[in-house]
Symmetry: C2
Subunit: 222 residues, 2 copies
């Protein structure tokens, strides 16, 4: 007596805030699953992880009816559905652009592998690095071979971890190679065609936002 499983394609366009939360819900469910919890109500989920129950229900409702009235959600079932909605039911293949400090760290970051991403290759322009590999064995290719390797290795996602100066130029090559999804660690916003999704992680903005908070604080106690 499991799985009503009425998944539907979202008709309305769903906001990025919602999809980000789906990731969060998925992580919560993974924890519940490993805690041996079989079923959970939106209420309980919200309390345990400091979320809002109505929002959880609304977010899920974009994609189907996954709950059972009077009961809640079957943890395993909802988890499986969320993985499918997020496209995590297949392995996604990732290339890291730039084999500097940050690129190498990202290539070996265990959090990526955990949810089914595979870091397959890195690219760099420095002869000294090309042919080498990261600590965990991700090979470093010549940026010149990008197109060829992307095709051969079926790369889905590129991570940009090159210096700010060359970010746009590298991104243009990534786009030309046919990659449709990019995670950008370089500061500033880059231009991509409309059919390419780019998501930025701007460390400077994050730190400056903390700086602002500290500055307000010290202003407050005149």
């Amino acid at each position: 007596m499991n799985s009503p499983n009425k998944r539907r394609l979202a008709a309305e366009p769903v906001s990025e805030l919602t999809t980000n939360r789906l990731s969060v819900y998925l992580r919560c469910l993974s924890q519940l699953e490993s805690d041996g919890v079989e079923t959970i109500s939106s209420q309980a989920l919200a309390e345990q992880f400091h979320l809002n129950a109505a929002q959880i229900r609304k977010d899920l409702a974009y994609f189907g009816e996954f709950g059972v009235r009077g009961v809640g959600y079957y943890v395993k079932d909802l988890k499986r559905n969320l993985r499918q909605i997020l496209g995590l039911d297949r392995k996604l293949r990732v290339a890291v652009m730039g084999a500097g400090n940050l690129g190498l760290a990202l290539a070996d970051y265990p959090g990526f592998r955990r949810e089914g991403f595979e870091i397959v290759t890195m690219f760099d322009v420095a002869d000294a690095k090309i042919g080498d590999q990261s600590r965990s064995g991700v090979p470093i290719h010549d940026l010149k071979d990008l197109k060829k390797v992307v095709r051969k290795e079926h790369i889905d996602i590129a991570v940009i971890a090159v210096p700010a100066e060359s970010a746009q130029q590298v991104l243009d090559q990534v786009v030309a190679a046919g990659i449709k999804a990019v995670l950008n660690f370089s500061p500033g916003s880059l231009k991509v065609p409309a059919d390419v999704k780019i998501k930025g992680v701007d460390l400077t903005v994050s730190l400056e936002s903390l700086s602002f908070y500290l500055a307000q604080d010290s202003d407050a106690q005149k």
Copy 2:
């Protein structure tokens, strides 16, 4: 003929979206300054960097009247004001928690130093690492000495780059040491007292959001 400079303390609480944009504006102004531009209108700024002119004006208006009607903003002047608002007119001292791959990469990340942050120390628990230092010379201390070193080195901000399992526990120690601002790279949300500001960079959520986009794409062309 410079600087009307009517800076004011924001009376209304200003949203994080606004403060994040202030960082962005600051970066744009730095570029304009090095391009030799002396004055810029909100309109021109918006066009050049794909922003909204009204929003720029509104964001700035929370903090004062920095513009000159009929002219625009003096680049140098506005830049100086933004730096002050963001609390970047003093050097902020940062400690990185965790001297793993990611921690070491962050410690040497040039983007941080650029806008006036100083990565002063790292902390770890592994005897093999303690006493060692990052490539650029940031020393690695024993986590046990956190309180002492934070006091002596006047650390303002902690960056959490430890494995997910120990993140909350390390954070608790950071808070106990009196640090009021934290940038968290570990996945999942951590608990802090109300007077501590924590900002998360969740790489898993970012990647999964890209995965969702790709999944929608392949659904679309049935």
